[in-house]
């Protein structure tokens, strides 16, 4: 191999000497450093007139021969602002400092399956979140939390405050009604499963009633939460079909492309980060303060029995009052101060041939409810190796162990979840254990939540391996032509175990006599693909062609076994007399072909066209190919010769159209595929039976298809010190897959059909500026604004309700011509629109202030305006007589709030009172970091330490909202397509404070 390299070098040198021979050349050398004075390795130094050049070495040094006088030397490096210098032969040495480029126009964006494009040539607004944006401010424990407020065009809602994450992310509005609107996640080329797997508490909570073991209401986290945000280099988000078309029939809701960190050529760097922090409830509501009168008023005082009962209750109240035993149950349940620790050690470095990045992280987090918490251990090894000039490859492997104790929150119909039990539990209730550890029964609810919290186990543990490899074959690699083949394979394997135990002495275990459940869910996703990429320059036009094929195999096997009637104190499925089983598996195969052609006219005009052909076993006809075309154009007006408006340094006009699909997705909980009409298993008297399934299958089911047109304008002013990116999109989703209600008399409750279309229109504006840039102060700011409007444009099935409990409790109605996210309910006898979950708009502002180069202050504000929630926590609290604002009288009509809302609900069947505006303004992240200068560290230590950084930060530091529950960001039904924003006693959100220490060796 060495011989080959030598040979190549000789050729290169020969090449240079030829050019030398024909011109008056002179040499120049120097050092390129970053703002901290560190040498930058790999900076391109190019002579503009010839395009020939070199790159800097390990210390940032370069030397180059320049052919003639008055030549322009270009310095460019990804992530830094490029610079140009006109040089004469008098310049024998030139040292320059490159500034980091927050606008990242030169950054390369991986948009295609095997190709990338410079951001400045992109025809779509692709959001990128860098490592610095992601984890540079504070320490989000899961990826989902790390993205909040950082993505223009995304509506991200944390499903609850439970440790271990769980979000619903919608890019550019709703894209599906029945499936999950979650985007596709691809990590270093590996398709990463993002299922939310129920822990199986439904038999106890009866959240979705019936005899189901699993439910989407038991607050599972999505499995994308397993990925350690610290290992991520950057995240690119293809928000709509126009950008994501080439990803085909699973890209309807967008694609999130995650690239993890890689080693760089040079000295081995060792980084150690230690975070320590604590978490506490973000927004305690307070409790209703009782008086004797209020206690009496809980009863019907018009009857003798009522008065008798009221007197008895008053006696209990007064006794507790005298003994100082009135408990603030909110404080007791949600008042835990949880400790958070995170340690991360990473090694990275490499040689010309081999580069590596190794990272290990230990994460431990307690929740604001006792006995809840999250822990994760993550180990990653990324290796890049250049075998020869022909072949290079990379291998990325990640092992993750995560464990979450998420408590028993959210909806239930048995009065057993903590929150539901507390809605009716009075402050004078006696719930604490005696000296022998015996808990009294709670007379005010179906359970003693303190007992449930202290004695139950609700744990999910995941062991996961994510590994992928890419091999590149560079068949041809000349100045104006290259041909490469890219082979890529990946595996995502995990085993998710749930472990749920309710011992027999719990108040609500009288009938079940103990409940023990073990889930064992196995997921194996593999993906394999091969691409040919051919590039040729003809007359300054750069043509890139890409041809590829890929195959995805997604396999799931879910098994949950539950035992009741346990032998006392035993956590074993055998120690029980009643056992039931949930066992579902899913195997899907997707095969796709893609072709894309790109033509780049000297960075002035960039045209791209492509097509993806996909088939999937989830479609009614598994071998039918569905085509998803795309076409786009971007023109950089400032690159044309006629451009002479100096203050405007960049002006790009872009237009893109594309189509993408959404395969008919299996039911997220029971994995039933839309094409089958099945019989469910059941039994009586020890005999097994078959009962027709509730959902009528459809053999003709096709993928959903979104068609998106996106137009935008990118303007840079004053050397791109001010950048404005404005985008308008119009996205139509056709062939919507609907679980249409059918007349129940048919024996089915719904049928999966392609039966409608919806439309999302929206704008996204992002403004990056550097308002202040003086010697010791730099202020960088990025402000985004985005809004989306969705509408059902066609509905072939009768209008139906979905995603809530019932019309009386507020529910989403899918109706032609109306907003997709409208909430309906009764006012009088009429069912009318009483709300809409879609925000009016969202804004976020990310600001970094750097003082004296070493002190950095960062703030991320996020404002969501409008969008309604269905607050059923309040409804239950009102009926339980415990709402914090029960005794206030907001409208001064003489009837206190609690009574007024109850009367309105009871008399009118109306949830109107419980639909609330979920506007908020949050200071999502705030941090102050101090990069301790070497002179402060001292010369002895400086020899060993390359940097030392300390800081403090907070996550969810402030929240301003009129919403009358814990957090307007909430979702009882997890990441279900439509029904985010419904709340029933969720796990309250928390605020987190951190102290950070970061050392580099």
């Amino acid at each position: 191999m060495n011989k080959k390299i030598t040979f190549l070098l000789t050729i290169t040198l020969l090449f240079f000497s030829i050019s030398n021979a024909v011109s008056q050349d002179f040499s120049i050398s120097g050092k390129v450093t970053d703002e901290n004075g560190e040498g930058l390795i790999g900076v391109n130094v190019v002579v503009k007139s010839t395009g020939k050049g070199t790159i800097t070495d390990i210390d940032g040094n370069y030397s180059l021969t320049v052919p003639e006088e008055n030549n322009v030397l270009e310095f460019s490096f990804v992530g830094y602002k490029g610079q140009e210098f006109t040089i004469t032969s008098s310049n024998s040495s030139l040292n320059i400092t490159l500034e980091e480029d927050i606008t990242s126009l030169e950054e390369v964006v991986v948009t295609g399956l095997a190709s990338s494009i410079k951001r400045s040539n992109l025809a779509n607004a692709v959001s990128t979140v860098s490592a610095k944006d992601l984890t540079g401010t504070t320490s989000p424990s899961t990826l989902d939390g790390a993205l909040q407020g950082k993505l223009t065009g995304a509506n991200i809602i944390a499903n609850s405050g439970a440790p271990g994450g769980g979000i619903s992310m919608k890019l550019r509005g709703i894209t599906t009604i029945t499936g999950s609107s979650e985007p596709l996640y691809i990590v270093d080329g590996v398709y990463m499963d993002n299922s939310a797997i129920s822990a199986g508490t439904n038999p106890v909570t009866q959240a979705s009633r019936g005899s189901n073991i699993t439910t989407n209401q038991d607050n599972p986290s999505n499995r994308i939460a397993d990925l350690n945000p610290d290992e991520i280099e950057n995240i690119e988000i293809l928000k709509g079909a126009s950008a994501a078309a080439i990803y085909g029939s699973r890209a309807n809701a967008g694609v999130v492309i995650i690239t993890t960190k890689k080693g760089k050529n040079g000295k081995t760097k060792i980084n150690f980060n230690q975070d320590i922090g604590y978490t506490s409830i973000l927004n305690p509501l307070g409790s209703r303060e009782f008086t004797v009168d209020k206690v009496r008023n809980l009863f019907d005082l018009t009857t003798e029995k009522g008065i008798e009962a009221a007197n008895a209750e008053v006696a209990l109240f007064q006794k507790a009052q005298q003994e100082g035993r009135l408990i603030d149950w909110e404080q007791e349940m949600y008042g835990n101060i949880g400790l958070i620790t995170k340690s991360n050690l990473s090694l990275s470095g490499g040689t010309e041939k081999t580069k590596f990045f190794i990272s290990g992280t230990l994460n431990d987090e307690e929740g604001i409810i006792k006995n809840t918490g999250y822990s994760r251990k993550s180990l990653r090894t990324n290796i890049d190796h250049k075998l020869s000039n022909l072949i290079n490859f990379s291998v990325n492997s990640n092992y993750i162990h995560s464990s979450a104790d998420r408590g028993l929150t959210n909806n239930d119909n048995a009065g057993v979840s903590y929150g539901v039990a507390l809605t009716s539990t009075k402050p004078w209730a006696d719930l604490f254990p005696d000296e022998d550890g015996n808990y009294p029964n709670n007379p005010y609810a179906g359970s003693n939540p303190i007992q449930t919290r202290d004695l139950s186990t609700i744990n999910e543990t995941t062991n996961r391996i994510l590994t992928g490899s890419t091999v590149n074959f560079h068949f041809i690699n000349t100045d104006d032509t290259f041909l490469k083949m890219v082979l890529r394979g990946g595996v995502d394997y995990y085993n998710n175990e749930s472990n749920v135990y309710f011992p027999e002495d719990l108040q609500f275990m009288g009938v079940m006599n103990g409940f023990y459940s073990r889930g064992n869910n196995r997921v194996i996703n593999t993906n394999a693909s091969a691409f040919l990429v051919f590039n040729k320059s003809i007359n300054k036009v750069d043509f890139t062609s890409q041809l590829g094929t890929s195959r995805l195999d997604f396999n799931q096997d879910r098994l949950t076994t539950q035992a009741t009637q346990l032998i006392g104190g035993q956590k074993n499925l055998e120690q029980a007399s009643a056992v039931s089983v949930f066992n579902k598996s899913l195997k899907t195969i997707d095969i796709g072909y893609s072709f894309q052609q790109e033509a780049n006219f000297a960075d002035k005009l960039i045209l791209t066209a492509g097509i993806r052909l996909d088939k999937s076993s989830l479609n009614g006809d598994p071998n039918k190919l569905y085509a998803f075309p795309k076409i786009s154009a971007a023109t950089n007006l400032h690159n044309f010769d006629f451009w002479s408006v100096d203050p405007i340094s960049q002006l790009k006009v872009r237009l893109a159209y594309g189509e993408a699909g959404g395969v008919p997705s299996p039911h997220p909980v029971n994995l039933q595929q839309p094409s089958f009409t099945i019989f469910n298993g059941t039994g009586i008297s020890g005999q097994a039976g078959s009962i027709i399934g509730l959902v009528r299958g459809n053999k003709d089911i096709q993928p959903e298809r979104s068609k998106e047109i996106e137009a935008g304008l990118d303007i840079g002013f004053f050397d791109n010190k001010i950048n404005l990116e404005a985008t308008y999109y119009n996205k139509t989703v056709e062939d919507l897959i609907l679980r249409a209600n059918v007349p129940y008399s048919s024996g089915f409750t719904s049928r999966t059909v392609n039966g409608g279309a919806l439309n999302n229109k929206g704008i996204e504006i992002a403004l990056s500026t550097t308002p202040v840039d003086i010697s010791n102060l730099k202020w960088e700011s990025r402000t985004s604004f985005w809004k989306n409007r969705s509408k059902m444009t066609r509905l072939d099935v009768p209008s139906f309700t979905t995603g809530g409990f019932s019309s009386a409790l507020g529910i989403f109605r899918i109706e032609e011509g109306k907003s997709v996210t409208q909430i309906v309910g009764y006012v009088g006898d009429e069912e009318v629109v009483i709300g809409n979950a879609e925000p009016d708009f969202q804004m976020s502002s990310f600001n970094t202030l750097t003082f004296f180069k070493n002190i950095e202050f960062t703030m991320l504000w996020h404002w969501k305006q409008g969008g309604d929630n269905i607050n059923l926590t309040k409804l239950l609290s009102d009926f339980g007589g415990t709402t914090f604002d029960y005794d206030e009288d907001d409208d001064n009509n003489g009837i206190i709030n609690g009574d007024q809302r109850k009367i309105a609900y009871s008399e009118g069947n109306s949830a109107d009172e419980f639909i609330e505006d979920a506007t908020y303004l949050k200071l999502r992240e705030i941090a102050l970091f101090y990069n301790i200068p070497k002179k402060v560290i001292g010369s002895t230590l400086s020899n060993y330490i390359s940097y030392l950084k300390v800081g403090v930060s907070a996550n969810n530091a402030l929240m301003f909202t009129k919403y009358s529950s814990y957090d307007p960001e909430v979702s009882n039904f997890g990441n279900n397509g439509i029904s985010t924003g419904v709340e029933v006693t969720p796990f309250p959100s928390s605020r987190k404070f951190f102290f950070h220490l970061s050392v580099g060796l």
Partner: protein, 437 residues
């Protein structure tokens, strides 16, 4: 370059292999689908029988709570759902709430399963022609029961009878027509098993299908006739009712068979099975299922049937509705307790009712006294007029069939709903999804 060519060719081959895959036709990996019964064997038919019997019990608690609350027999309250009181007692009924839709959908799901059973039986070449009538007898009888349950809630709103084609369900027919059709369906089922089949020893053989334990002790055709008698009473066909009783397990000789003889929904904690959904512990909180205090206070204090309730340690109060009760329902004392589908005690009272209407008062009083004696009460000594005997019969039904879903229906049949309370709902609304079809 040779090497490159070689590698290149191999790589191209990989691409071809990757792309050349044909995806096989898919079958559900978890469950049998409709194709499984295209030509069913007896095991598959039996699966549908057992599935239907199991399904009959689903949402039974929702049905019972609905009709028993509206019938003011019980008070039901849930800490997590105010609608049992706010809607069923105080407000309007919601055509899309669980109490309306869930029992409705569950009964029609059984009906669908039975229609599939009938279709599978008719299409099967794997089961003998002699065994087919047994399946059809079963299917018709159970289907009639399920439709009657729907009609009991829908009342004057009517129900759909012809529901076999999911793309085009039949029309809604009125209450009278529906009752006639249900009666005919029972007769049709009975025809398949009318002739006694005897075994070697001369005993009458029951259906040659394995049913649930809830049908042990009676012949299935006797069950069919018992249901027919119930329907006949609803249709005011009193002579018919008496005829049907004769072919049922009805007996006035309570020494021979207890009042409790009959057909039952049975439960177990086995895999795939369910436990008694109406069972709640005594003194339960969070979920309450209580006797309306009137039921206790208006009873004869000596009535042994008062053991169907148990006094709570702490009384239940609901302020908005002014409802209160100190009595837990204690009809089912463990979670495996069976729930009657129809029992001899009801048949005796059907007999009494028919006899009252036929003005054969001695027979009627005789029957009523059997029930009274059994409840520890003295023989009837009231007036022998139609009106008083009807009242007495309704009272005995109130206590003998407590919480079995009869009170509301009985009072409606005799136009006495106003005696139950104010604003007693007269029917459950047609479910939202059924409107406009």
């Amino acid at each position: 370059m040779k090497l490159i060519n070689k590698i290149g060719t191999q790589l191209l081959l990989i691409m071809v292999i990757l792309s050349g895959c044909q995806i096989e036709d898919q079958i559900d990996p978890n469950s049998p689908d409709l194709t499984a019964i295209e030509n069913a064997n007896s095991a598959q038919l039996n699966n549908l029988v057992i599935g239907s019997l199991s399904q009959m019990r689903m949402e039974l608690e929702t049905y019972m709570d609905g009709v028993n609350v509206i019938g003011r027999e019980i008070i039901r309250h849930s800490g997590s759902d105010p609608r049992y009181i706010s809607d069923l007692i105080m407000g309007n009924l919601d055509n899309n709430a669980f109490y309306t839709t869930r029992p409705y959908a569950a009964r029609y799901r059984t009906v669908k399963n039975l229609n599939l059973l009938i279709e599978a039986v008719n299409n099967s070449t794997k089961v003998s022609e002699e065994s087919k009538p047994d399946y059809l007898a079963f299917a018709k009888t159970i289907m009639a029961h399920e439709l009657l349950m729907v009609l009991n809630q829908q009342q004057s709103n009517g129900i759909r009878l012809d529901v076999n084609n999911p793309d085009n369900v039949g029309p809604v027919v009125g209450k009278e027509e529906a009752l006639n059709a249900i009666a005919n369906m029972l007769n049709e089922g009975y025809e398949y098993m009318k002739e006694d089949v005897l075994d070697d020893k001369g005993n009458i053989l029951d259906l040659q299908i394995s049913l649930s334990d809830g049908f042990s002790g009676i012949l299935f055709k006797e069950f069919n006739r018992a249901l027919a008698a119930r329907v006949a009473i609803y249709r005011k066909e009193y002579n018919q009712a008496l005829n049907y009783l004769n072919d049922s397990f009805f007996t006035l000789e309570t020494s021979q068979g207890g009042l409790a003889d009959g057909a039952y929904f049975v439960f177990s904690s086995g895999s795939g099975d369910i436990t008694n959904p109406l069972y709640l512990e005594q003194n339960n909180t969070g979920e309450w299922r209580l006797a309306n205090p009137d039921w206790v206070t208006e009873a004869d204090p000596n009535d042994l049937r008062l053991d169907k309730v148990s006094e709570r340690k702490e009384a239940f109060f609901h302020k908005e509705s002014k409802l209160s009760s100190s009595y837990d329902i204690w009809l089912y004392q463990d979670q495996l307790a069976p729930i009657p589908i129809i029992k001899n005690e009801e048949l005796i009272l059907i007999y009494a009712e028919a006899k009252i209407h036929l003005e054969e008062y001695t027979d009627a009083i005789n029957a009523l006294n059997i029930v009274r004696t059994n409840a520890g009460l003295e023989a009837y000594n009231g007036e022998e007029t139609n009106e008083t005997l009807i009242d007495e019969m309704l009272t005995q039904r109130r206590y003998s069939l407590f919480m079995e879903g009869h009170r509301w229906l009985d009072m409606m049949r005799y136009n006495k709903l106003s005696e139950l309370g104010d604003n007693v709902h007269t029917a459950f609304p047609t479910p939202l999804v059924e409107i406009g079809i």
